[in-house]
């Protein structure tokens, strides 16, 4: 069903975006190469299930692990050198392209022709369960002492270091986690579209992921999820507008950044309690105005 397909795509993108939120939104490093980790996840899962006949339930964690391990290849040299964040971003850009070229030239990935005829494992219930698990783990990770260390680095890396935080270790942990999430996203994508080729994981996909996190809010888990849903759904809704839909899509991104530079959710989280508090505060706002010191 069409709507199902769109919702599955939303959740897949949200899984990758949530992972990247840990890295970009909470640890404060930009990446323009996360599609490479999606690619690693997608190919690992596809090869595991199709070539080696490994069950999907085992192949999926394998994809996450593989994407995480690959992230160490780029993470260890660049993060150890304490590169400034913009240099790191350039490194990820190169890494993303390199990964695509590697996939195009390996025999096991079937080169540029890609892999077709993958089993249809990414059905709505499966994807929903995995989405919930990923969000749950991410929430636990961020609202813990480990998340706190990451946020401290985002806020001020020198002060964080002087609070006894090992920059390299914490940044690498965030990178590993975000890559693993992207790997899961990629694996689900492979078994959703049932066909993968290296061209699906270009810089455009990486940029879109980073844009999702930035537009959703740097320092929010729910923000990037909302943004991921919007960014998948809007082009679908606008299908009637044909060629103008991509223009509208770009305009939407510009509008979000102009109207809400801090992103849709900013540093906050979307929660039922938060909504109740918001409406309660609406009534008392005028009384509170005077007491702000």
């Amino acid at each position: 069903m069409y709507i199902q397909v769109v919702i599955i795509l939303c959740m897949i993108n949200a899984i990758s975006a949530v992972g990247l939120a840990v890295f970009t939104g909470f640890t404060g490093l930009m990446s323009l190469g996360h599609a490479a980790f999606m690619a690693v996840g997608a190919y690992t899962c596809a090869i595991a299930t199709k070539t080696f006949g490994i069950p999907f339930i085992i192949a999926l964690p394998m994809s996450a692990l593989m994407a995480g391990l690959v992230s160490l290849i780029i993470g260890i040299p660049t993060l150890r050198a304490k590169l400034r964040s913009d240099y790191f971003t350039i490194a990820t850009l190169g890494f993303g392209e390199a990964m695509r070229v590697i996939l195009e030239n390996l025999p096991i990935t079937n080169g540029a022709r890609g892999m077709a005829g993958l089993a249809h494992y990414s059905v709505l219930p499966t994807v929903t369960v995995i989405f919930v698990i990923v969000v749950f783990f991410t929430k636990n990770f961020i609202f813990s002492r480990y998340g706190r260390m990451a946020v401290a680095i985002r806020e001020d890396h020198i002060a964080a270091e002087m609070a006894g935080i090992n920059l390299f270790q914490v940044r690498l942990r965030s990178l590993f986690y975000s890559a693993a999430c992207a790997g899961i996203g990629g694996a689900l994508m492979a078994h959703h579209i049932r066909f993968i080729q290296p061209n699906m994981f270009t810089n455009v996909q990486s940029t879109l992921l980073t844009a999702t996190v930035v537009a959703g809010g740097m320092g929010s888990i729910t923000g990037p999820i909302i943004a991921a849903f919007i960014f998948v759904m809007v082009p679908e809704v606008l299908r009637v507008a044909e060629m103008w839909r991509l223009v509208a899509y770009g305009a939407l991104l510009v509008a979000i950044m102009v109207l809400r530079p801090q992103g849709i959710m900013g540093y906050r989280e979307f929660s039922i309690n938060g909504i109740i508090r918001y409406f309660r505060n609406l009534g008392t706002k005028q009384d509170k105005g005077g007491t702000v010191s």
């Binding site: 946020v151 020198i158 002087m162 935080i165």
Partner: protein, 264 residues
Amino acid sequence: MSISLEIKNLSKSFGGIVAVEDLTFNIKSGEVMGIIGPNGAGKTTVFNLITGVYQPTKGQIIYKGKDITGHQPDEIVKLGIARTFQNVRLFKNLSAMENVVTALDLKNPMYNLASTFFLNWPFIPGKVKRCEKELREKALHFLDLVGIADHAQKQANALPYGLQRKLEIARALALEPELLLLDEPAAGMNPEESMELSRLIKEIQQKLNLTVFLIEHHMDLVMEICDHLYVINFGRELAEGNPEEIQANPAVLKAYLGEGRKGA
């Protein structure tokens, strides 16, 4: 009295510019040592060298008998040296409480990564929630120590400047250091505020049995709380002694307090 920190022939140059040259001094455990000198004398560079932000060009830094020259900042903090910064460096978007809790993690790692992922369920009290609550109570104690417990839930950059400085001290204290480095704790404060701060520093130092090493330009504060002073100018040692000796030292008067003036 045992020696806390030993600086031996410490030098640092940036390219051709010599910021600090051949400094040698000791800080005894339990004393308040001050480093003074005109602007650009290299005081903050000394702090950055001690805390591992910069690597020295020459010389040694020995803390409690252990050579810490060239160690990374986070390793040095773990050994028990904490600092504040000249331009306040807080985790701006976090609350005062969270700023302190972040620092508490160092000496109170209460749960591991596995329990982070698996032992924190909504609506169910678990290990992580219990530890977090305990950490917050502990953080409140440190905020109370510097007198800003009332502002625990406020965002750090929404605090007035003076309180931000105190919060930074609270965060440094939460690292449970033995040696505390304060980089101009009274910068931007009026004489009254700086005297209040000097009382606070003295009180905390005695309560927690700390060794304090501070950079300060407010001479009344320096003379009030320092047991020992080290004076540098253009990166070189100018004088060393107790506050009375320093006040009477003609070289210091000339370089720092101004020629022809007596006392501070």
